[in-house]
């Protein structure tokens, strides 16, 4: 059924269709609307039986989810940014214990400076946590991916983060095709746990494992993620059969045939890129884009296959590996090992900075001329950083950098003028 609804609400409705049994909620922007809606469904009885637990922190949210999942219940939670970091210990624990929790990450920057806007720093900080990570391009895909996530998590007995751009998707009202309960029930079988806390068959879960077996445990976690690479295309195909549309999978290309320049990106940014590519293709540029849906496990073979014919690759990512450059770009480079392809890292849109078509047009044209730095910061205000660097060189007690920069810019971050400049 087509609906014009907020992305968060669409995800909440899709999650509800998956019949979760325990949901933990702790407020953090921009994921709040999702759990608010789920809380409403549980309270008004449309989602029942289901326990909706208002926990006292994200750490507790993931911990409650761990307990619930270990006791055999289909379990869901959502978080973002600082919340994800606050629960990080439990995030690793959930995957280490092999618990198929599904969690939405409404992607948001990590402070300091505190910043509520979108980028991918939060999810990517947990890239080695042992969770599967999938990134939604649109709200339609976000809700579809949640349905697939439960299926995949429970089959593999591994937790999954479904990542969707905070505000940009979570708060956007868009048209979505909401599946029916019957469709979801047909696609998603009842959860049969691989291990469960049960007095009828008591086991101890969470043993201390020493040097004699830890490597093997970790290897098995890796092997399972590798297995996901094989399973996912099948699940996506099955999804198409039941729901009648493409969603999920490992990667997607757009206008990649004969592309000399390939852009790589994740999440909602792909839409803007596609609009730019359409215009550039119309103007005769050989440019295409590779969208990465599955970030963990990283689909090395598919990425290599999609990019190997290009002359250059521009990885446009909403994250920064401080002291190195790109996170996604580093992964892409691994996929392109030994191929004679230039890979440019472009850090863009972090902390919610708008990525405009205008900037992209300029960027891609410069890239085509190989006229960009290996690590480029899109729309960086060089005046401001140069001024601050100079200040720090000259003054020992130069004060807090972020506040100094705001003073230099002369506006507050929320000011409309900045957004519409």
């Amino acid at each position: 059924m087509l609906k014009q609804i907020e992305g968060s609400r669409a995800v909440a409705e899709a999650v509800a269709l998956c019949r979760p049994e325990v949901i933990c909620a702790y407020p953090i922007s921009p994921q709040t609307h999702i759990v608010e809606a789920l809380g409403e469904f549980v309270k008004d009885g449309t989602l029942a039986p289901c326990e909706f637990i208002n926990v006292e922190s994200e750490f507790a949210a993931m911990s409650v989810a761990i307990g619930s999942s270990a006791a055999g219940a289909r379990t869901y939670t959502a978080t973002a940014s600082q919340g994800l970091l606050f629960m990080a210990e439990a995030v690793y624990n959930a995957s280490g214990l092999g618990l198929p929790i599904v969690m939405t990450v409404a992607n948001r920057a990590i402070g300091a400076p505190i910043n509520i806007w979108n980028d991918h720093s939060d999810a990517l900080s947990q890239r080695d946590s042992g969770w599967l990570q999938i990134f939604a391009e649109t709200n339609q895909e976000a809700l579809d991916l949640h349905i697939q996530a439960f299926r995949l998590a429970e089959e593999l007995s591994l937790p999954i983060m479904v990542c969707m751009d905070g505000f940009i998707l979570t708060h956007a009202y868009e048209r979505v095709d909401m599946p029916t309960q019957a469709q979801v029930d047909a696609y998603l079988p009842k959860y049969e746990p691989r291990q469960v806390l049960d007095p009828a068959e008591p086991v101890s879960i969470g043993a201390m494992v020493g040097p004699e077996a830890f490597m093997e445990v970790r290897y098995l976690a890796h092997a399972k993620q590798m297995e996901a690479l094989k399973l996912i295309p099948g699940y996506a195909a099955e999804f198409r059969e039941v729901f009648g549309r493409d969603s999920g999978g490992l990667t997607h290309t757009y206008k990649a045939d004969d592309a000399e320049t390939m852009v790589v990106a994740m999440g909602s940014l792909l839409g803007t890129i596609k609009d730019v590519i359409d215009e550039m293709r119309a103007a005769g540029h050989k440019i295409g884009v590779l969208g990465i849906t599955l970030f963990r496990p990283f689909p090395i073979a598919q990425v290599r296959e999609a990019l190997h014919g290009a002359q250059r690759v521009v990885v446009l990512e909403k994250s920064l590996a401080v002291g190195l450059g790109g996170i996604l770009a580093t992964n892409v480079r691994m996929a392109l090992s030994a191929l004679p392809i230039d890979v440019y890292t472009v850090v863009a849109g972090i902390g919610g900075r708008p990525i405009t078509m205008r900037s992209l047009h300029a960027l891609f044209r410069e890239a085509e001329r190989d006229d960009i730095d290996p690590v480029t910061f899109l729309d960086l205000n060089h005046d401001v950083v140069d001024k601050q660097l100079a200040r720090e060189r000259s003054t020992r007690r130069s004060g807090p950098a972020a506040e100094a920069i705001l003073r230099d810019i002369g506006v507050v971050a929320a000011k409309v003028a900045q957004e519409v400049r």
């Binding site: 092999g98 086991v203 101890s204 969470g206 494992v209 445990v217």
Partner: protein, 541 residues
């Protein structure tokens, strides 16, 4: 379940880890000798019979008791219970009233008519027991149970010896004596009354006895020289008490002075009171603390109006009056005359200065050694003459019913062995379970149950029994005050407190076993054993 490798484990798998290898000391269960048992002259297994009484199985308790002592109703009245003096419970609150429970069991046995089990086999041996006092009765009982044919020759007209002729009725009702004697006779013991053995050798030969046990009581009152006018009535205590059993009650007058500080002196003074004496005054040369009489008896006597002149000796007696001299204790605690005198009105003076045994029957028996008026016996209670054993008042020992009963048992064991051409070796005694071996925390607060006492008016005028028995509730309560010193009473503490579940409970009556596969040797079970029945011993390398 196809469980995740290493992270998820199956139950019970830790049993593969034998933590017993950590141990440097191991706990072992032990049995220690309870102090009450150790202190009992009759050799009773007090803790053993209390154990049954605790669960309300009084017959079983009585049977356990009479394994060693056939006279519980008597002993429950007249024993001075050294067991209670040794009882570890006195360090918790007050000693267990063992004597009261014993009496309760004895009275229960009489009430229910419980009988001894007859011996299964006959040895074909004949044993003569001389004297039907506590020692003779005890020996006869044990010998009969061992299958020997026993004859008791009693010089007096009734059985009981000094129990009957030396202890007043108000302490020991005569029907109690009769009942317990009858039960021994019912076992098959032949009791010949008014049969004085004048010569033991002849008597043994005449009766074709293989062995003899001599248990003649000390019926002869000791005399002391007191300058006295002819008219002064001076009598001895034993005679007074014996005459209480006859038709003619002794005539002591309104004012009676008793000379001596033993239990007999007390008994006479209290008897005199009951016979109507206005004054009964005990004169004793030392202090109350030094008096051989039991304090409880002194206390009861005082309650009944008996007066005592401590630190006093009788210098002379005249008609209706005696003169006493005040004494003072010297540095060594001996009384010395002070030269200070006092006169007391006295219609009679009763001498209670101790008793002697008539050893006439021993004349001409070779090998016997008599010293200080008593027969010398070896550790096996045998006199210097083979086959003749002796006990009770006749041998060097404290003269109490309890000691006498113990002698009877001990002698019977040795006689039994001797008759079989063997010798009896008592089993080695366990270490005594002293209070420091216990963990008294686990014993709940439980005050001593006091036996009811006859009201004072009737005590002063009648010979009714002064101290009454416990009722069942109280007796049960009292039995349960036992700490079971040194012997496991299956409280489950060791089983419960082991952090390693290394104690195996074997079920009721079977106690416990350590599982040394897992016992780490922490020793908590030892510390928390209430009764000191576990000990740590070093592991051998």
């Amino acid at each position: 379940m196809d469980k995740p490798f290493a992270i998820t484990l199956d139950p019970g798998s830790s049993l593969a880890n034998k933590t017993g290898s950590w141990r440097t000391f191991r706990p072992v269960y032990v049995d220690r000798l309870p102090p009450c048992n150790a202190a009992c002259p009759a050799g009773e297994n007090i803790q053993g019979w209390l154990y049954h009484a605790e669960s309300g199985d009084y017959e079983q308790a009585w049977r356990a008791l009479t394994e060693n002592n056939p006279l519980p109703a008597i002993m429950g009245r007249v024993c001075y219970h050294p067991c209670q003096g040794a009882c570890n419970r006195q360090f918790v609150d007050s000693a267990v009233g063992i004597n009261a429970v014993e009496r309760f069991l004895g009275d229960e046995a009489i009430r229910h008519g419980w009988a001894f089990e007859k011996p299964g086999k006959s040895s074909g041996k004949r044993v003569l027991v001389v004297g039907a006092g506590p020692s003779g009765l005890s020996a006869a009982y044990h010998l009969a149970r061992q299958g020997h044919a026993v004859e008791i020759h009693e010089a007096g007209p009734m059985a009981g010896g000094m129990m009957r002729f030396g202890i007043p009725k108000y302490r020991l009702p005569r029907d109690v004596i009769d009942a317990e004697v009858r039960r021994i006779v019912d076992l098959g013991v032949t009791l010949k009354l008014d049969t004085k053995v004048a010569n033991i050798a002849e008597a043994m030969q005449a009766g074709r006895f293989d062995a003899a046990f001599l248990a003649v009581g000390a019926h002869i009152g000791k005399r002391a020289f007191i300058p006295a006018a002819d008219a002064t009535r001076i009598v001895d205590a034993v005679s007074v008490l014996r005459s209480m059993e006859g038709e003619e009650k002794p005539m002591l007058g309104r004012r009676v002075v008793v000379y001596g500080g033993g239990n007999t002196a007390i008994d006479v003074a209290r008897t005199a009171k009951r016979l109507g004496a206005e004054e009964a005054i005990i004169v004793y040369r030392r202090t109350r603390e030094k008096a051989p009489a039991h304090d409880s008896e002194i206390e009861e006597a005082l309650q009944e109006g008996v007066m005592v002149k401590w630190l006093s000796t009788i210098k002379q007696a005249a008609e209706g009056e005696i003169t006493i001299e005040k004494m003072a204790l010297d540095d060594k605690g001996f009384p010395q005359p002070t030269g200070e005198f006092e006169n007391l009105a006295a219609d009679s003076v009763v001498l209670a200065l101790g008793q002697d045994v008539d050893l006439g029957l021993l004349e001409g028996v070779p090998g016997l050694e008599v010293k200080d008026g008593v027969v010398q016996v070896g550790p096996n209670m045998m006199t210097g003459h083979a086959g003749i054993f002796a006990g009770g008042d006749m041998v060097p020992s404290e003269r109490t019913v309890t000691v006498a009963v113990g002698h009877g048992k001990k002698a019977a064991r040795h006689i039994d062995a001797w008759l079989a051409g063997a010798s009896y070796a008592p089993p080695p005694k366990h270490e005594v379970a002293t209070f420091d071996k216990l963990n008294p925390w686990y014993y709940s607060e439980a005050p001593l149950q006091v036996r009811p006492v006859l009201d004072i008016i009737r005590r002063q005028s009648t010979f009714e029994e002064v101290v009454q028995g416990l009722d069942e509730n109280n007796a049960l309560f009292e039995a349960r005050r036992c700490l079971s010193c040194g012997n496991c009473f299956e409280c489950d503490n060791c089983y419960g407190v082991c952090p390693d579940n290394a104690v195996i409970k074997l079920g009721p009556g079977k106690r416990f076993r350590f599982n040394y596969d897992y016992c780490k040797g922490c020793g908590i079970c030892v510390t928390e054993c209430p009764c000191g029945a576990i000990r740590m011993v070093p592991e051998e390398n």
